[in-house]
């Protein structure tokens, strides 16, 4: 890998991405088109996030990658390794120690700080895409702030199912102007989108970058008589006992016994290290 530039991308590509990031920060929630490059990993596997991270990392950074909240999922391992090799950055699994976190599908449980950057991998950046497949149409809708279709869809859900049938990638309104796809995070994570860290979103295949600066107003779409609820499995974590974390459901045996564990592996580990024990955990759990 030594024949490649720092953080893999050539400088001209990084400049192009950096310009897009700055425009994204200036217009929160608006999807900036960028000339995404082919990366040495497949489209759909985080190429947008990887390009944003590559354009943002400095050698002084400490980098963390999570997929489904976990540091040890194979794609997270693969991306972390890529930047260890090409950028020589320090890596960590500890949320507090990371300066730049690339994520797929989760926001860490621990509150992020002013000094951190969260980079999301985004598969379909257009929140209106499944209501209107045409880019030419959705672009017009954003420009005219015409989001009626989205409200109609959510309202139809309520009238048909008694509930909004969107459990992840739940659309948000950013700073009262742009409806934005927060990437396929569970809606449990939506309230965390108003945070102190800088949030950058990269969609490689779809060639879009967007951003949410710190303390930006991010509101999950809802109705006065049907307010948004950030839901999760109604259990505590079986390893660390946390009652406020997003949980994975794990099937334990043929009889269908299950356990619930924190999806944020570092959050769970640090709680156990601090002595918290869940239903199936032990004091010295690794």
């Amino acid at each position: 890998m030594t024949e490649y530039n720092f953080a893999y991308l050539d400088e001209q590509t990084k400049r192009m991405i950096r310009r897009a990031i700055l425009k994204g920060l200036a217009v929160p929630g608006y999807q900036v088109p960028f000339a995404s490059r082919e990366m040495p990993m497949p489209y759909g596997w985080g190429t947008g996030g990887v390009q944003v991270s590559a354009a943002t990392l400095t050698p002084d950074d400490t980098f963390k990658v999570i997929d489904q909240g976990a540091d040890d999922t194979t794609n997270a391992v693969s991306i972390r390794k890529f930047f260890e090799n090409t950028a020589g950055v320090a890596v960590t699994e500890e949320t507090e120690k990371a300066t730049l976190i690339q994520t797929r599908h989760r926001i860490p449980e621990a509150e992020l700080t002013e000094d951190q950057i969260l980079v999301y991998q985004v598969p379909i950046p257009e929140p209106l895409r499944f209501l209107e497949p045409r880019e030419t149409e959705t672009r017009k809708m954003h420009s005219l702030e015409e989001y009626g279709l989205m409200h109609v869809k959510l309202y139809e859900d309520i009238s048909q199912h008694g509930d909004i049938a969107t459990a992840y990638a739940y659309p948000v309104m950013v700073q009262d102007r742009y409806v934005m796809d927060p990437s396929p995070i569970p809606k449990f994570d939506n309230p965390k989108l108003e945070m102190s860290a800088i949030q950058l979103f990269g969609a490689g295949r779809e060639q879009r970058i967007y951003a949410v600066p710190p303390h930006t107003k991010v509101v999950s779409l809802d109705f006065e008589d049907f307010p948004f609820v950030a839901s999760k499995a109604n259990h505590p974590c079986d390893l660390c006992g946390a009652e406020d974390s997003y949980l994975d459901e794990v099937i334990l045996d043929d009889a269908g016994n299950r356990m619930f564990v924190c999806s944020d592996t570092d959050f769970c580990r640090s709680r156990r290290a601090a002595g918290h024990v869940g239903r199936l955990g032990t004091e010295d759990a690794a």
Partner: protein
């Protein structure tokens, strides 16, 4: 001879790393209007500041049109920019980036503000200032917890720009090796 010497000098010593640090400073101030950061690494011919020179090397290349306003438009500066970035020199109306003092950059209405479908297609102005200080105008909006303060060259003009939101220009303010920024999303109040 002097011009030649200046033209080739003043670039980054280690481009990928210097540019990465510079971008992080630029991104941080754009994401947090009112914050002031140090930005250095490049040195352009006078009168362009180190911070402005570093921004130009970090963000400009053959794909971006640059407008050198007023006093910054010197033969030395043109050569320096062309040699280090390859960026085409353009008029204010075509510029992706413009650099100069506030009065040299005026009138603001010349610059691109984006289109309703592509608000990103707007100019970024690099405004050379005497000093940057967290006093003066009160800022609020994205990137700002409650409020922040920054000395701005012309409050009514910048308020008018933010009224165009989501269209409008974005600003970097530079002084020596210091940088601050004002995106179009920021609400501005006096004092």
């Amino acid at each position: 001879m002097q011009a030649q010497a200046t033209q080739f000098a003043g670039g980054f010593s280690n481009t990928p790393v210097d540019a990465a640090h510079a971008f992080r400073a630029a991104m941080t101030v754009m994401a947090r209007p009112g914050e002031i950061r140090t930005l250095s690494g490049a040195q352009a011919p006078v009168p362009v500041s180190g911070a402005a020179a570093t921004l130009l090397l970090t963000l400009c290349d053959p794909e971006t049109g640059v407008y050198l306003a007023g006093a910054s438009d010197t033969p030395e500066m043109r050569q320096w920019l062309t040699f280090h970035t390859g960026a085409p020199l353009v008029d204010a109306a075509q510029a992706d980036f413009a650099v100069g003092t506030w009065t040299d950059l005026l009138p603001l209405k010349t610059y691109r503000i984006g289109t309703s479908e592509y608000p990103d297609r707007s100019a970024t102005l690099i405004v050379e200032c005497h000093a940057l200080a967290q006093t003066g105008a009160t800022l609020s909006g994205p990137g700002i917890k409650n409020t922040s303060q920054l000395n701005l060259p012309d409050i009514p003009a910048l308020q008018a720009n933010s009224m165009l939101y989501p269209l409008g220009m974005d600003f970097f303010f530079t002084s020596g090796t210091q940088v601050a920024a004002l995106p179009r999303s920021t609400q501005i109040a006096k004092g």
